[in-house]
């Protein structure tokens, strides 16, 4: 076909020449002079170039040409009804934009690969075992101590990526399935001093094979290799591209620089490439240090990590040799690991549940982000998909109504011989055009949505690493979505309006039953979907309300929080305690600060952050666990406005050398002392064999996160526990952030080598812990409003159309004496029936679907009857509102005019 066309076109020149010559010859034969004969022939032939172009077009662009016609015609159609076009494009843009925004987040979390060579051949090493607690809640497991995270796998199993160093060495030896096996260990926040300027930087300890295994090349200098990673090697560091720019003024300047990491000198040897962020998308280390340098940075205690086969801390990834599958690697390595780990078990209980090695794909890096965000994002994606479905149904509905109006046009075109396919194609072109315009505008909405979603999700977290972007993948999906939507909402109306019963359409020009039925189905679907979203929004708002109404028991407003780590800047016991105490006094002397205190962490994150005591305690004969310990400085209760019910709070009298003291919360006092006064009695921290004298009783407070059941609280003196990192709290007059500058100045004066970190108000610190709930409540409320709005427009459109269809019938009724009210009721009844059918379908669906979001709810039942009822009432009211205008219009029909119209 192609070749035939080419030959025909190639020969066309020759053919036309022949043609003109023949014509000229004929003219000459008729007696014209040759020159004139040729002119006449040429004139008669017309434009040669255009003939050739037209011929070419026949072959190459027939469908393109028709498409251009269709588009031009479509544009004219759309311009003719600007209101319709605007509504459709806006609804679609919102729907597609929301989907694009959520999808871009999913893409960034679930689908994006690490920016390294051949990520597909990377595997992550994990293990799983039965839960460590036995029937008596005692810890029986070969994992005696751990630095890192374990999480729940299937069937309550414990899953983790932490291994003892011995396991790493064993698996690394003569590995037949991995070309490289490398390890890494979260180095957490470190004090990084460059040319005397100290800031907080996140560090990653990596083994010598790390960069080789990931196949990363430096942008400057060289990367850490095996020679750097052994005890006694010269301490070297690789910095991230961002750090090289922010701290050294560009990658080349960083090489060879001396830096201090927690006061230990290192030499920068290289800079990682800009796109590289390590192996965990949830983290972006500023600093890569050879694993064994933790012996220098973390002190002699770190030596134990290398020898102890029951200490789980190092994480591993491997690169498969070419041709080796993950399953094969698993089959080779699992027995080897099993053999090794069996030697670390000391008792039968441990032997009964040895960890089993499990390989996972490593192309996308570690799964912490996926575990945290994939479920929330799936819930959100479901919702925006529902919204898009509502929008599509709505547009299909509007198009149906319009198709009815255009039936005459279609009938004329069909009877003039236009192919039905051609007309359907024309209509589909129109809807795909609408969808494309909606999609294009949707991308703008998406950009805005991604920005605000990032803002909502990060909620002020420093180094929030979830970065969604509009890459080709996302844009491609958006484009596909637009086209599919266009076809989806365009197909039914297009087929409807080109049905071959041309004659009847020509005769009366009014839509019949099938139209209305299709419209009703669509409206019912919209109502059903809207109800689902309303219920979800109701549940999430309810959850947020419950969270906000949790009694904190301490001050929320007018508190400034910030953290310091003096130990990382070289301060040691006992001087460090004096240092922190002196600072507190200086903060308290800032004008406008009524009191200052310090603790091992903010109250809201006390159970997770910082070092504190988490073991069993004993009062008299009672041993118990689960009381929350807060390591607090002087005036803590005063600053946090926690009432002192008996005795005193911790103050400057409590020194490292004096009697260890504790203040207990009222609930603890009531539980173990009844009505006796606990002041003067003792409480024992069993694991540390530490005896404390109870000197006071505080009112109850919400220790730890809002969602946790508030445990009993024990305050102990910071001077007697001496944590590394402390969080100061300042009670301020007016906006707490106004005092940040003074804080920086005081700290710089005291020791310029200590960076101030996590500067935040108490309010923001608390809100940060419920950012997901806030996000869900806000987003879903927005979604619900949107869904309701779109559904109401659909309902309004349908009812208006129905009324217009029934003008004659209504006119007759009114002529026969029907009251306006009866007519209103006639229309509203139909609205209510539609809404009721929608609800009847949706309520069971909502009941089962809400179970899926159960884990997102707080003190709210997924089938909360109040929420269901409220959603129903809101929906019905909205439906009545949408239906009232058409109903009223119907009741005002002039019977005479209506009958004449008929």
């Amino acid at each position: 076909m192609k070749r035939r066309a080419k030959r025909l076109l190639n020969d066309l020149d020759q053919e036309i020449r022949e043609h003109i010559e023949l014509a000229t010859q004929e003219n000459i034969d008729r007696g014209m002079p040759p020159e004139e004969a040729r002119h006449a022939a040429l004139r008669k032939f017309g434009n040669v170039t255009r003939a050739k172009e037209d011929a070419r077009e026949v072959w190459s662009t027939v469908w393109l040409e028709e498409l251009r016609q269709d588009i031009r015609f479509g544009l004219r159609q759309l311009r003719q009804s600007p209101a319709f076009t605007t509504v459709v494009i806006l609804t679609l843009a919102l729907g597609i934009g929301a989907n694009t925004a959520i999808y871009s987040f999913m893409e960034s979390i679930l689908l994006r690969s690490l920016p390294v060579a051949d990520p597909e051949s990377l595997v992550v090493l994990n293990w799983h075992s039965q839960p460590p607690e036995d029937g008596n809640k005692e810890w029986v497991h070969v994992m005696h101590s751990v630095s890192g995270l374990a999480w729940k796998g299937d069937n309550g199993a414990m899953v983790s990526g932490m291994f003892p160093y011995g396991a790493f060495e064993t698996l690394r030896e003569e590995n037949p399935v991995f070309s490289t096996l490398f390890g890494y260990f979260n180095g957490r926040k470190r004090n990084l001093a460059v040319r005397g300027q100290a800031t907080s930087a996140s560090a990653e300890y990596v083994t010598g094979e790390y960069f080789r295994g990931l196949a990363v090349s430096p942008v400057a200098g060289r990367l850490i290799d095996s020679g750097d990673d052994r005890p006694g090697a010269a301490p070297v560091a690789v910095v991230s591209f961002g750090t090289s720019q922010n701290r050294f003024g560009g990658p080349p300047n960083a090489i060879g620089q001396s830096i201090l990491v927690d006061n230990i000198p290192f030499t920068v040897i290289g800079v990682a490439p800009p796109e590289f962020f390590g192996v965990d998308p949830a983290a972006a280390p500023d600093l890569y240090l050879p694993l064994h340098t933790n012996l220098l940075v973390d002190g002699a205690g770190a030596a134990r990590m290398y020898g102890d086969g029951n200490y789980y801390w190092i994480e591993m990834m491997g690169r498969l040799r070419p041709g080796v599958s993950m399953a094969q690697a698993q089959a080779v390595l699992a027995p080897r690991f099993h053999q090794w780990v069996a030697t670390t078990a000391t008792i039968d209980g441990e032997r009964a549940k040895l960890p089993a090695l499990m390989l996972n794909p490593g192309a996308a890096g570690l799964g912490s982000l996926r575990r945290k965000y994939s479920k929330p994002l799936f819930v959100l994606l479901t919702m925006v998909a529902l919204i898009l479905a509502i929008a599509c149904a709505n547009i299909a509905n509007l198009l149906l109504a319009r198709a009815a109006a255009r039936r005459r046009e279609m009938a004329v075109r069909l009877s003039l011989g236009a192919g039905r396919f051609r007309v359907v194609r024309q209509l589909l072109t129109e809807s795909v055009m609408l969808a494309s315009l909606g999609g294009a505008l949707g991308v703008l909405f998406a950009i805005w949505g991604m920005g605000s979603l990032t803002f909502l999700l990060s909620n002020g977290q420093e180094n929030f690493t979830l970065h969604a972007e509009l890459n080709w993948n996302v844009l491609g999906v958006t484009a596909a979505l637009s086209v599919v939507c266009g076809l989806l909402f365009g197909l039914a109306p297009a087929i409807q309006s080109t049905r071959p019963d041309v004659m009847s359409a020509l005769k009366n020009g009014r839509g019949g039953g099938p139209h209305r039925r299709a419209q009703h189905v669509l409206v019912v679907a919209q109502i059903a979907f809207s109800f689902l979203i309303l219920v979800a929004a109701g549940l999430f708002v309810q959850t947020l309300n419950k969270l906000h109404s949790v009694q904190l028991g301490y001050a929320r407003e007018n508190i400034l929080l910030f953290s310091l780590n003096a130990r990382q800047a070289g301060h040691r016991d006992p001087e460090i305690a004096t240092f922190y105490t002196e600072l507190r006094k200086r903060f308290e002397s800032i004008p406008g600060v009524s009191s200052a205190t310090l603790s091992h962490s903010s109250i809201i994150s006390a159970e997770r952050a910082g070092r504190t005591y988490r073991g069993p305690m004993k009062i008299g004969a009672f041993t118990f666990v689960g009381a929350g310990v807060l390591v607090a400085g002087p005036r803590f209760l005063t600053t946090m406005q926690i009432p002192i019910l008996a005795g005193r709070e911790i103050d400057d009298r409590d020194q490292a050398g004096s009697t260890p003291v504790a203040v207990i919360s009222e609930r603890l006092a009531r539980t173990y002392f009844g009505n006796e006064n606990p002041v003067g009695r003792r409480i024992t921290f069993l694991d540390e064999k530490r005896d404390l004298e109870i000197v006071g009783v505080s009112a109850n407070l919400q220790y730890g996160g809002l969602k946790e059941e508030s445990p009993m609280t024990v305050f102990v003196a910071i001077s007697q526990f001496s944590p590394d990192r402390v969080t100061y709290a300042l009670r301020t007059a007016g906006d707490p952030l106004r005092y940040v500058q003074s804080v920086y100045e005081i700290v710089r004066e005291a020791d310029p080598g200590i960076p101030v970190t996590n500067v935040v108000t108490q309010v923001a610190e608390i809100d940060r812990t419920i950012s997901q709930e806030v996000t869900f409540a806000k987003l879903c409320t927005g979604f619900a409003v949107l869904a309701l709005l779109i559904a109401c427009v659909g309902l309004y459109g349908t009812m208006s159309y129905n009324v217009a269809q029934q003008i004659g019938e209504i006119g007759i009724r009114m002529a026969l004496g029907a009251q306006g009210r009866a007519v209103v009721w006639m229309v509203l009844r139909r609205v209510l029936i539609l809404a009721a059918v929608g609800l009847a379908i949706s309520v069971p669906a909502a009941l089962s679907a809400s179970q899926l979001v159960k884990s997102f709810l707080f003190e709210t039942q997924p089938n909360d009857p109040g929420t269901l009822a409220l959603a129903g009432v809101v929906l019905l009211s909205a439906a009545i509102l949408a239906g009232y205008a058409p109903a009223r219009r119907a009741s005002r029909i002039d019977p005479l005019a209506a009958l004449r119209h008929e």
């Binding site: 035939r4 053919e15 017309g46 050739k52 011929a55 027939v62």
Partner: protein, 118 residues
């Protein structure tokens, strides 16, 4: 060169050209110039083909499978392309002709509604 006055000539309606080409080829394969001449001649030179538009039309008909092209020799003994009707083309011609007749009849009735009474 022409026996008719310019004013009596009728520009071809879009799409009609296809029909006329098919009709011309019923008599046997022809080359481009001959087709143009035949149309003019057979319409008493009332219908004037813009000859240039003949070729795109021919290509269109080839594409639809209604005619096909073969090599031959023209009257002045040169190699030329001859166009020949296919079976499908013949069928199409019949279909189009009857449609055209209906349309023409209808239009005629509309334009001269009183003809019968006169």
């Amino acid at each position: 060169m022409s026996t008719k006055k310019e004013s009596e000539r009728i520009e071809l309606l879009q799409g009609t050209l296809d029909l006329l080409i098919l009709r011309t080829l019923v008599l046997g394969p022809q080359h481009g110039h001959a087709i143009a001449k035949a149309i003019e001649f057979r319409s008493d030179e009332v219908l004037q083909v813009e000859q240039g538009s003949l070729y795109p039309a021919l290509h269109r008909l080839i594409k639809r499978g209604w005619i096909f092209v073969e090599d031959g020799t023209s009257e002045n003994n040169r190699r030329a392309k001859f166009y020949r009707l296919t079976a499908r083309g013949r069928k199409q011609l019949a279909h189009e002709t009857s449609k055209w007749e209906k349309l023409a009849g209808a239009i005629a009735r509309i334009l001269r509604p009183t003809e019968g009474r006169e």
